[in-house]
Structures are given as structure tokens and as C-alpha cells.
């Protein structure tokens, strides 16, 4: 209850502006009530909840006060300036350009600005070597290089292989769209866009450990690229490393239509389902619980590291691990509390994710579903012939889909009717692909043994592509809705909650009887 109060407070604080002074007073009142009236149990519980609610609101308002200040990047839109920042997510490489998000922004005179910047960069940028500086491969304007007393920087390629954590200096005219896209960016704390800067310089990755990790990840990616053709290599990198490099519009659209986008996204949604499926499959094949637990924990850890340990990767990893714990420890109860606790911690670090990060919301909903529903339905699944434990996998995927459906409807206005079938066909091969991908990315293209993993991986990836393309071409497989009201989402979740509560009560009663 307390945790829910806190989350609720964060949400309220995010939506409504509160004066910090009054918040402080209210907080004080709740503390006083708690101190003097703690003998009355009801008042005690009530004031604790209130206290948490207020601290939620407080945390949220604090966040807003950061970003409304005049130190925000938004004050510099329509001006040209040189900015230095760190890449905060792995870059989104499209077919003809790439998108990089810079955070921890400082201006040239060392002033720290709040908010992030979206930088659009061309994909093939190479720098004209300057006559006075033949080795100068960074696109410096020479005046600038001189005034900063720069010697010719090292040979380096701007335009390829940007990684999370890297330091970047760009000079450009900032702009910001005022339409829907702008408000979408705002929610991601992006307050300015820097389109195709006319001067770019790369610094080192500040964290040496991260640097090591990324050269490792680069090595893995190169191995995948040399072993598989496009689009299969992109797909493999997406599944294995959460790499969002382009599969092209056609395939992305097909994935969306059949409800498979999550297999290549870096989210708790993906990780939770895959962990659950891997557990079901592993147990079915006859691997012992303990080995599975240790093995999958290790793999999750590797996964988080390999994806650069960005905040979203860490969150996804934690949620996946919760599912793992639930399967290891036995059912329910504690993992659910743990999920709430993790949510509280994550939201304290980043209050904005609660209301604005769709990925996080989907992850939370899916993880909740995967944790709660399958154990509840355990006894009511009819025991048909059940190769590979299909019924369990079906329950896992369908419950995740049902619990995320109101969210996807509200945010994206699309409903993939065929998603359960597509997921059932594709999800079981994902753990296998990950295993094969592990060999492929580490061992690479050793000419005579590599066919052992390359060929099966190719077949399975091709299978995924074929399934999604075939299913998406079926008419009526995907329905779009315009403007799904918020109320609908609320009612849908209330309904789902009621159903879960009812089933829970029934199983509880039956157990007591």
C-alpha cells in the first residue's frame, strides 16, 4: 500500500504543479500526526501512506524544478552553439542517418545545462583533411582548432561506431519542433534537436570499463555481421544485444503488425517473457532447477553488460531476474513485493518513467502478468497432449499480451489480433537463437566449424522473418484505433485487476477447504 501511495504521489506530482513550500508544510503535518497519534492504528497507517504520497509528490516536483530553470537547454533553442555531452543510449542507426542522444550537456564556457539533446548525424561522414593538418581527420574548422591550441587530433572516423558513454562535441543551430513529436521528445527529457552539426569531435569514453565493454561488444557485432547476411544479422544483434540497428521499415512494420516488436527491443517485457519461456523449456528438456537458475542469472548479467548497462538495460535485467527468482523460489508472494519495491527504487531515480516511459510501463505490466497469471491458472489448464509444454508457454505469452494490451492501445492505438499466434510460433526459438548467437558472436567465422551455429541460426532467423511477414500480410491481422481514451485504459486495468483478485480468492478458498 505504502509503495503504491508513493508511486501515486510521483504521478500526481508529475501532472500537477505543487509549490515546494506547501508540500513541506503538508509533509510536516503528516510527520506530526505520526509522532503524536501513533497509538491509533488507523491513523498511523493512514499517515504513513500520506507521508509516502507526499514524498512521491516531492520527488516529482523536485524533478520539474530542475528542468524549468533557466539552465535548461530549451533556453538555447534557435541559437548556434558548441556543446559537449555524453551519449546516453546506444545510437539508433537508420538507413540514411543515425540518431544519438547526448546527456550531461556543457557549453563551451563550461556551463552545465539540464536536459538532453537529440543529435542527427550522417552515416558516412568523413572529414576533409586540411592542408595544414594532413592527418586531421576530424571535421574541425581550422580557426577553431587554432584558437583552442589544438594539435592535429588522432586519426579517427566520425560517423561510424558511436557507442553509449562516449563523449561528443558538436556545433550546430539548435531547434525544437512544437508539434506532437516535440512533446514526445519532452517526455524523454530531450529539449533540443541538433540536426547534422557542421563540426563534430569525438572524445574518449570517460569510463574505462565501459570502453572495454564496448570494444568487446563491437567485436561480437563484427562476428555476427561476418557470419550472417542482412537482415538476419541485424535481427540477431537485436535479439542478442538489444541493438536497435535498422532492419528496415518493411520488417519493422511487419513486427509491429504481428506484435513481435518486443523481441528486438531492450525491455523488461522482452526479458521477462524470454526468461519464463527459457525456464519452461529448460525444465521440460530436463535441466535441473539449480543449473537453470545459475545459468540464466549469468546470461542475464552478460546481457546487461553487453548492451552497455544503460539504465533501460539494467531495468530490463532486474525485471527478468525477478521472474527467474519467482520460478526458482516457488510461486508468487515475495516476487510481487519485490517487483513493487524495484518499481519504487527505479522511479525514485527517474520519476519521469512512471508516466511517460511507455517501455517501462509495458515492462512492468508484462512482468507482473508473467509473475501472477501462470501460477493462478496452473490447475485449470486442461492436460491435452502437450509437446514442449506448449500450454505453459501459451499461458505466459497470452497473459503478457493481455496485460499490456490496454497500454499499447492507449499509446499506439494499434491492436495486433494475430499476436498470440505469432508469439507462440516465435518465442520458443528465441532462447535457442540466443545460444547459437552466443557461439557465433564469440567464436566468429572460423571457417570449418562455424557452420555448426551459422546454419541453424540462419534457418531459425529466416523462420522468424517468414512467420512475421506471412502473418502480417494476412488482412485484418492488425487493427488501428484513433484516440483511445485514457478512461478506457483505466477501466480495462480495473477490470483485469478485479478478475485477478477473483481468481486469487477462489484458489485461496479452495486451498482452505
Amino acid at each position: 500500500m505504502g509503495a503504491l501511495g508513493y508511486l501515486f504521489g510521483i504521478a500526481i506530482g508529475d501532472l500537477i504543479f505543487f509549490d515546494l513550500f506547501f508540500l513541506y508544510l503538508a509533509f510536516l503535518a503528516a510527520v506530526t500526526a505520526l509522532i503524536f497519534l501513533h497509538r491509533y492504528k488507523r491513523i498511523k497507517i493512514f499517515s504513513v501512506i500520506l507521508l509516502l504520497l507526499f514524498s512521491g509528490i516531492f520527488r516529482s516536483s523536485l524533478e520539474d524544478s530542475f528542468f524549468n530553470s533557466k539552465d535548461s537547454i530549451s533556453a538555447y533553442v534557435d541559437k548556434t552553439l558548441t556543446i559537449n555531452g555524453n551519449i546516453s543510449e546506444s545510437p539508433d542507426v537508420r538507413d540514411n542517418h543515425q540518431r544519438v542522444i547526448l546527456s550531461r550537456i556543457t557549453t563551451e564556457n563550461g556551463r552545465r545545462l539540464s536536459g538532453n539533446i537529440l543529435v542527427l548525424l550522417s552515416r558516412n561522414e568523413i572529414f576533409t583533411p586540411h592542408p595544414e593538418c594532413p592527418d586531421l581527420e576530424v571535421r574541425y574548422e581550422l580557426d577553431e582548432a587554432r584558437s583552442e591550441g589544438n594539435k592535429c587530433p588522432e586519426r579517427k572516423l566520425v560517423g561510424a561506431g558511436f557507442t553509449y558513454g562516449e563523449n561528443l562535441t558538436v556545433k550546430c543551430a539548435l531547434e525544437f519542433p512544437s508539434d506532437d513529436y516535440g512533446s514526445y521528445l519532452m517526455r524523454r527529457r530531450i529539449y533540443a534537436i541538433c540536426p547534422f552539426p557542421n563540426f563534430t569531435a569525438r572524445g574518449e569514453i570517460e569510463n574505462p570499463l565501459l570502453g572495454k565493454i564496448f570494444s568487446g561488444v563491437e567485436f561480437l557485432k563484427n562476428n555476427i555481421n561476418s557470419s550472417l547476411h542482412e537482415p538476419y544479422s541485424s535481427l540477431m544483434a537485436g535479439i542478442l544485444l538489444g541493438d536497435r540497428r535498422g532492419f528496415g521499415e518493411a520488417l519493422t512494420e511487419a513486427f509491429k503488425r504481428v506484435g513481435l516488436t518486443h523481441i528486438v527491443a531492450l525491455s523488461g517485457y522482452n526479458v521477462s517473457i524470454i526468461v519464463a519461456i527459457a525456464m519452461v523449456l529448460g525444465r521440460h528438456i530436463g535441466i535441473s532447477r539449480r543449473i537453470l537458475f545459475i545459468g540464466v542469472t549469468f546470461l542475464l548479467f552478460l546481457f546487461v553488460i553487453a548492451t552497455g548497462a544503460s539504465p533501460s538495460a539494467v531495468r530490463a535485467g532486474i525485471m527478468g531476474w525477478l521472474v527467474l527468482v519467482a520460478y526458482e523460489v516457488g510461486r508468487l508472494g515475495r516476487p510481487l513485493n519485490l517487483l513493487l519495491l524495484t518499481a519504487v527504487i527505479m522511479v525514485t531515480f527517474e520519476p519521469k518513467i512512471l508516466l511517460w516511459d511507455v517501455g517501462w510501463q509495458l515492462s512492468f505490466a508484462a512482468t507482473y502478468a508473467v509473475l501472477t497469471i501462470p501460477p493462478l491458472l496452473q490447475d485449470s489448464i486442461p492436460r491435452y497432449p502437450n509437446p514442449l509444454n506448449i500450454s505453459d508457454m501459451l499461458v505466459i505469452t497470452i497473459s503478457a499480451i493481455v496485460f499490456t494490451l490496454p497500454l499499447t492501445l492507449f499509446h499506439f492505438g494499434g491492436w495486433s489480433i494475430i499476436a498470440p499466434l505469432a508469439n507462440l510460433l516465435v518465442l520458443p526459438v528465441i532462447p535457442v537463437i540466443m545460444a547459437l548467437g552466443g557461439f557465433m558472436s564469440i567464436l566468429g567465422d572460423m571457417t570449418f566449424l562455424s557452420f555448426l551455429w551459422n546454419w541453424p541460426a540462419w534457418i531459425l532467423l529466416r523462420y522468424i522473418v517468414t512467420v512475421s511477414e506471412t502473418l502480417s500480410s494476412i488482412p485484418l491481422s492488425y487493427r488501428t484505433f484513433d484516440n483511445v481514451p485514457f478512461l478506457f485504459m483505466l477501466l480495462a486495468y480495473m477490470f483485469l485487476g478485479a478478475v485477478v483478485w477473483k481468481i486469487k480468492k477462489r484458489t485461496y478458498d479452495r486451498k482452505r477447504a
Binding site: D95, N124, L251
Partner: protein, 306 residues
């Protein structure tokens, strides 16, 4: 039978099925003495792939972006990571950019071009670095020549001399023109060549007759003169075109083709287009269903349903 034995049988069965499957796929790719010609739908730009017997690939131009990798990747057998020849007709970015990505990604043995460089263009600079780093053999077309490949032949018709002066700055003029001959089937690839080059080829009496013509320059009015089309006398005319503001393909070109009763296939309508020939019989494959749909307005009907 014990449980253990059952399990072993099951594992063996799965392994067996996989092996049969792989062999089947390999068998499908082997023993076909045909030439496959792909015209990829890469939007506004050109990209085609020739696949000769024994998995010899020739990429002709690469389109405007990285999308070519997906197209080529799905056309090549999964165990083959080598494109034997890459031909760049001329260094305009709607032909060039994808070529750079292909050179970056695949093992390429030979790079063929008209020798015109574009050092002002970042992708071209990357191309130069790649050719140097990967040690790729380069061939410049500056006299009419031919290349024998796996039972077929590629004839380079133009440039028939060393390009200089204006020919090096007006990039379309220097386009490599090539004719692919496989048995009795011929394909003519024209790059973005303008009418002046068409006239020059006719004047010299070069044999340009072909079954399939890649219409020059997205069907622009600056190419495809009436006499040249008569001289080529194709059955099919492929127009590689995407959404654009230049008015490509031009109505005049379309009318010329219609008057000659040539079947026009456009990548923006039909998607990827594939021809298959064994040297005698030429077959058109590809998303013909989509083409038929668009013709019958069935697609519209379907979207209304949705």
C-alpha cells in the same frame, strides 16, 4: 524401451531432421544453370544484382542507402559472403551510397567503374578508403570490352574512350552502359545515360538489342529516345524509381514505351523484380501478385476492409 532410450531416439530424430533440412536447402541452391537478375526496389535509385551459376554475383549500383544490404542478403545463399564483381555506373549518391555499404560488408573481389571520382562526397571518400584497406582490384572502363562469367558475358558498351573535361563533371554522361548476355537472353543496363550517349551508341552501330531494358535515369525525359528504344527492342522495360519530386518517370518516356507495346514494370509498383533465364527461356518472377492487385484495385479494396 526405457525412458532413456526414448529420449535418445528423440534427440537423434531432431538432429536427423535438421541435417535433412540443411541438405535440402543446399540442394535447392545447387545444380541450377540459370542466370537470375534482380532489380531491387530501393526507392529513388538504382540497384540490381546478377547471380550467375556457381554463385557468382555481380552487383550493379547500390541505391541511395543501406537498405541494399537487406535486399542482397536475402538474394544470396546464406553460406556465401562474397560478391565477385561490383559495378558502379556513375558516382551519384542514389547509385553510390549502397555500393559503399556493400563493399564494407561483403568480400568483394573486383570493383568496376568509369573512373570518375567524387572526393567532395563523404561516401565516395569512404569508398576510396575501403578499396585501399580491403585491397580490392579496380577496373576502369575506358574502351569497349567484355567479361566472361560462368557461361555468360558482360559487355561494357560505354564509356568507349577515356572520359575527360565535361564528361567528368556531368556525372550522368559518363555512366557505364553494359549488356548482359546469357545464351539467347540479353539485359541492357543503362545507368543514367542521357540521349547524347544513346545517339552515339546507335551511330557507332553497337548491338544494343535486348530482352530486358533497364530504363535509363528513372525514366527521365532526358533519356530513352524513340530511336534508341526501337534499336533495343525489348520485351520488358524495367523502371527503377521511388517517390520523387522530379516527375520521374516522365510521361513522354512512358508513352514511347507504350507505343512500342513494351511491357513496363516499375519497382515502385511491383517491388523487387526478378528475372530468371536458362539461356533460352526468360521468366519474370517476383511480386507479380502485388502488381496484379494494384492493377485490379484489389489492394484498395483490402485496405478499405481493414
Amino acid at each position: 524401451m526405457t525412458v532413456k532410450e526414448l529420449k535418445r531416439i528423440r534427440v537423434l530424430a531432431i538432429v536427423g531432421i535438421i541435417i535433412v533440412f540443411v541438405l535440402l536447402i543446399l540442394a535447392l541452391g545447387y545444380g541450377k544453370e540459370t542466370l537470375k537478375v534482380y532489380f531491387f526496389d530501393v526507392g529513388q535509385g538504382d540497384a540490381s544484382l546478377l547471380v550467375f551459376p556457381n554463385n557468382i554475383q555481380v552487383l550493379i549500383d547500390g541505391g541511395p542507402d543501406r537498405g541494399i544490404l537487406r535486399k542482397v542478403g536475402r538474394a544470396m545463399p546464406f553460406y556465401d559472403h562474397k560478391i565477385e564483381y561490383v559495378i558502379l555506373t556513375h558516382p551519384h549518391s542514389d547509385h553510390l551510397t549502397g555500393v559503399v555499404d556493400a563493399l564494407d560488408r561483403y568480400n568483394v573481389s573486383t570493383f568496376i567503374s568509369n573512373g570518375v571520382s567524387r572526393d567532395d562526397l563523404p561516401p565516395y571518400q569512404k569508398l576510396t578508403t575501403l578499396i585501399k584497406d580491403k585491397n580490392i582490384r579496380t577496373v576502369v572502363i575506358d574502351y569497349p570490352s567484355a567479361l566472361e562469367i560462368g557461361g555468360g558475358r558482360i559487355e561494357f558498351l560505354y564509356p568507349d574512350h577515356k572520359l575527360d573535361g565535361e564528361e567528368r563533371t556531368d556525372f550522368n554522361t559518363g555512366s557505364v552502359v553494359l549488356r548482359v548476355v546469357y545464351g539467347e537472353s540479353e539485359f541492357l543496363f543503362t545507368g543514367d545515360m542521357p540521349r547524347s550517349v544513346e545517339d552515339r551508341l546507335i551511330e557507332k552501330g553497337v548491338d544494343v538489342s535486348s530482352d530486358v531494358l533497364k530504363v535509363a535515369h528513372q525514366g527521365s525525359k532526358t533519356s530513352s529516345g524513340e530511336t534508341f528504344i526501337s534499336e533495343v527492342h525489348p520485351d520488358y522495360a524495367v523502371i527503377m524509381v521511388g517517390e520523387n519530386t522530379y516527375g520521374h518517370p516522365h510521361t513522354r518516356t512512358l508513352l514511347t514505351l507504350e507505343r512500342k507495346k513494351i511491357r513496363v514494370i516499375r519497382t515502385d509498383k511491383a517491388g523487387d523484380i526478378v528475372f530468371n533465364t536458362d539461356g533460352r527461356l526468360l521468366k519474370l518472377k517476383g511480386n507479380l501478385i502485388i502488381e496484379a492487385f494494384s492493377r485490379l484495385h484489389l489492394k484498395k479494396f483490402l485496405t478499405v476492409l481493414e
